[in-house]
Amino acid sequence: MPAVIEEQNPSKTEAKDASVLDRPADLGLSRRRLLRGLIVAVVVLVVGLQVPTFVDDPYYMGVIADGTVLGILAISIGFLIRLSGLISLGHTAFYGGAAYALAIAMNQWDWGPMQAAVFGILGGTLLAVVIGSMAIRITGFGFLMLTLAFGQALYAASVLTSLRDVTGAFDGLGIDWPSDATFFGLEQSDVGASDTFWPLAWVAIVVVAVVLWIAGRSRFGVLLEAIRENEERARFSGYNTYLPRLAAFTLSGACASVAGVLFALKASYVSPNTLGFLTAGDSLIATLVGGFTTLAGPAIGALLYIYAQGEFAESGNLQLYTGLALVIAVVFLPGGISGFVVDLFQRVRGRLTGKGGKA
């Protein structure tokens, strides 16, 4: 019998606790949880910085560093999927856009790498605001196609012969550092080497993850989930639904821009591929394989993806094996690797506590 037709009974009145609104924040991130999260982040940061000590092989160090940069892009895409239900194929616009902005600033205007990196991130973020203001008006398949269209439009612009002097067209741009320029104390050759580049990539992914974690767990994140669940009800609850989604898209685009800037600095080169559909596909595959239901899932997927790409490339059947691996991952691990691990953990915990695991 629905509760609505039940008369109030004494037992319920007695069970009544303090006012619902007096409880510690259910609607957002409590200070205690924030502190716990930050402590975990610091521990992860410190431990992760030791990776080059244990990985001597430059090849594997390169895989880990490249996977981490792709991981930043993937977790930014995963954040948007998880909280807004929006699957973007256009994040390469911010990733590649930021990379090109950095390269153009350094090559054309002789800016130092630090100023150019800031310019690149701001440029990618601004692009996210502009594209997002149009794209988030629609959801689902329409959003997917619209973001793809924006990404491809930027790709097409980058290869225009008339812009060859600026973008290098199909040849891309080699990045020239001003003499004596450094980036967080690192010279160009250090940034190009995976082991010395590693602290930059690791600090960046941890900072991005913390920012996205806080955003996802805050009231802002709760509102995004509500909008994803039932946008109409959110509006009829008094909330503007456009601005929060635009903010989420912009934040996600800003994080993708960080990945783009790091990629350009490490490679000292940007090509139209950074804006292309294949890069968009790479990042989305990494997100799906790693699983977007957790924050770390896409980063795990990215690492695995970069490693697998190296292995598959040796066989000469890179795309075939990539496709097969994706099919297997999607069919047998619908929640991705992280989803599988979380599910397994819940089942085991359910058995141990006798409460039954999550089905």
Partner: protein
């Protein structure tokens, strides 16, 4: 007494079809105004027009003396107009507590407990909406509309999907809550007897037009209403 909600010549067209045709009504504070009519009469369309879910073809909607015809749904909610839907509309994957808190914080509600207890939701606060029964989801839907002490709440078939007895008692709860919180309501419902029992005034729609609008006893005995809609129910 000044009306809290007024509809003036509200008209809503879907292409060539006129779903709501020049409908006017006035609702005073604390009053329950029932809207009944056969299927396709335009009741839900009228609710959509009042709530801002659909853009009016003609006419205007006035809330507390202010023309809100061009105001957004979110603005209306923050300024005293709430609604529930014929098909239950909740945040399925969220805890009941979280979604009620969300609306409460947005609308400045300080006494969420009274609504929770009146609708018997306390036992479900820490469950997700998709883990509770349809009837309880219905109660969450109504609760979200009543949070924030709106001046007027638009209730589109609050008893839909419930057994007859449950639906009747739902109407009684709504009557009680509206009285206690001095909330006016426009109530669309198929349970004609229930509407006549709890409403202060009833408007009958037929083919998008007002057939009659008066106190329940007068509507029940109106010959046009009997012929067009009530028939043997009168």
């Amino acid at each position: 007494m000044t009306a809290v909600l007024e509809a003036h010549g509200v008209t809503l067209r879907y292409g060539a079809v006129v779903a709501v045709d020049d409908v006017s009504l006035s609702v005073e504070p604390g009053m329950l105004h029932g809207v009944i009519g056969p299927n396709g009469a335009g009741k839900s369309s009228f609710m959509d027009a009042l709530s801002g879910r659909r853009k009016l073809t003609a006419g205007k909607v006035v809330l507390d003396g202010e023309d809100i015809t061009k105001r957004s749904v979110a603005w209306r909610r923050r300024n005293g107009m709430a609604r529930s839907f014929q098909k239950t509309s909740v945040f399925s994957a969220m805890k009941v507590r979280t979604q009620l808190e969300m609306v409460a914080r947005r609308t400045g509600e300080e006494d969420l407990d009274s609504i929770i207890d009146a609708l018997g939701l306390r036992d479900f606060l820490d469950k997700r909406c998709d883990e509770i029964s349809y009837g309880d989801q219905r109660s969450v839907d109504i609760a979200m509309a009543l949070v924030g002490r709106p001046h007027v709440v638009l209730l589109d078939e609050p008893g839909a999907g419930l057994a007859q007895e449950e639906a009747a008692r739902m109407l009684d709860h709504i009557r009680t809550l509206c009285n206690e919180r001095n909330v006016a309501a426009v109530l669309v419902e198929h349970d004609v007897d229930g509407v006549f029992r709890v409403c202060d005034k009833v408007t009958v729609l037929s083919l998008g037009r007002v057939l009659a609008s008066a106190e329940p006893e007068n509507v029940r005995s109106d010959q046009k209403v009997i012929e067009a809609y009530l028939g043997s129910q009168a």
